[in-house]
Symmetry: C2
Subunit: 381 residues, 2 copies
Amino acid sequence: MRGFQPSEFSARTRRAQELMDAAGLSALLLTTETDVRYFTGYLTRFWESPTRPWYLIVPATGKPVAVIPSIGQALMAKTWLDDIRTWTSPDLQDDGVSLLADALMELTPADGRIAVPDGHETHVRMPLADIERLRGKLGAREIASDFGILRQLRMVKSEAEIAKIETACHIAGKAFARVPEIVGAGIPLDEVFRKFQMLCLEEGADWVPYLAGGAEQGGYSDVISPASSEPLAVGDVLMLDTGLVWDGYFSDFDRNWAIGPARSDVKSSYARLIEASDAAFEIARPGATAADLFYAMNAVLTKDAGSTDAGRLGHGLGMSLTEWPSLIPTDDTVLQPGMVLTLEPGIAVGNKILVHEENIVITEGTPRFISPRIGPEIIEI
Amino acid sequence: MRGFQPSEFSARTRRAQELMDAAGLSALLLTTETDVRYFTGYLTRFWESPTRPWYLIVPATGKPVAVIPSIGQALMAKTWLDDIRTWTSPDLQDDGVSLLADALMELTPADGRIAVPDGHETHVRMPLADIERLRGKLGAREIASDFGILRQLRMVKSEAEIAKIETACHIAGKAFARVPEIVGAGIPLDEVFRKFQMLCLEEGADWVPYLAGGAEQGGYSDVISPASSEPLAVGDVLMLDTGLVWDGYFSDFDRNWAIGPARSDVKSSYARLIEASDAAFEIARPGATAADLFYAMNAVLTKDAGSTDAGRLGHGLGMSLTEWPSLIPTDDTVLQPGMVLTLEPGIAVGNKILVHEENIVITEGTPRFISPRIGPEIIEI
């Protein structure tokens, strides 16, 4: 099913309002694609345009109120919202700030605290000068922190959200399975990138916001580069890491292939990666922490070595390619049923690296792989 | 050619430093993908991940200094920068703020003014709480406005930038020309969207960040909706509007097709759109303003009617899908050679709309179409 039942949005709003009440907040002010969509279902690729600001207010009671450019009115009117206020944007004198301030004044008490997400993995998507202008129009009202309310809500997914992420993962799995059709020695890496995105679309992706990877002898140098035009060669390890979207939700996992026979150190390192992600999978249950998963993987990855500069070994996943929590030593977030995580161990092979990534969902008991679980032997093409 | 010569980046930096000097600014602090890339060439789809902040400092003299997560070090080291400072991100205690503050203290005088883009079409891509933390670490230094320096620089493209935008437009043109291969009565619109993105990739797009459109009887309801699964029907007007990327630069134009024979009001309204964009094209020379182009189009669009709620009729184009200036009545930006614009007239047909869009470049003399110029007769499929 595309979209969500209205009950999904009213439940999200109610939970937010409970947390707001406990924190003494009068309203949430949201400005990013994901946060606005979380409470509305408003789904459009138009956010690719940085020109216009979009505002959503979650008041202490009742439905959210949209304060948006008029170009979005028709589409927003299809959501469960009743109160949609628009202005003709861009307005070089006052790009929605007065309209937003009026709405906030109406919806909050004179000494109200208006909260914005202000912590890790957030930003306020409006001009900095307009934040100051808004402050100046709000009287005694304060712009405050949301104390991580959005993080807390979005980190635990509903069954309907998990189903969408699973669909995205299923599509990515089918595309990855067809990679041998498009790969071989002599084919330039940028052609592989293009054709892989086509496979994702052919298998049902709505769009492909993210593709990175690499292919060099015995590994690759980093995992965030765009494709070079270098042709694949025997001895290369090819990695493709995609974040594709289905109905607004991401998959995020990778696959590795050896071009020709894999070197023995590549084989053993690759097997170690699978062992590492399996080790995290085994303990990924309610009560364990994000840090616990890091340590479970890191113990496998550093079995023969003294230390590692491992960085992050996985993260949350959902409406964004990457979300809270982080699988790092300092993230003590306790796992809860409904969290969707990537397990993403990396290992050095000489002066190259290999990275493996799977997606899992935390349940009441044993976790569940939502990317197609893969064996310890690297596939040779 | 992929990328730019180092001389391109040194010229951009020098121009920025001249403008900074004139405005009494000690440094620029940049946080968004486009602004960081403008001075570095740092190109990666990894910005899709909202987790990590990235910082670039343009000091009063010398090369820019990057303060970035260590995951980006290898790729940033391939740019023309010499000074790259990294931290292991995400760091839940201090996600680069101290490292950034130290760099700013070193690179600016004690009473320095550190400028961030803070006007229309900008935001600061870092947590709001970290902006406050940064302020607290900078002593007497002030976080100030960039007074539109980034806008002024990025709005006028170099020959090398224009060549990339033209390549993107050329690819989009070839994909649009092949739309009859994938379109026909009975084919669901979301399938058309998927296949069109595949055509863009097949014709050479690196990726397809933007696709919107619509297809309804005699027009469409809005221009920002994602695809429905509704099958195309005779009498529909199909519009596809894509922003595809080649080497980090966008095309942004659309095409319309009638499914079966076009209604006479559709034909005449469509011809009016072409007449409108041609009218703007005719006067799009140095010295004319963005508002002049708006009025040239609006005069054609409202020839038979009293008024219109036209909104914006085009915009700048480049590293972003949409950029300054805006073709609206209040934007007095004077056109200069090197500006790349979209002409995007829209017209009502009953309770539906039609929108047409072309891309042009402003030169010393006659402007140049960089999207394939199209005739006044809507194509029937």
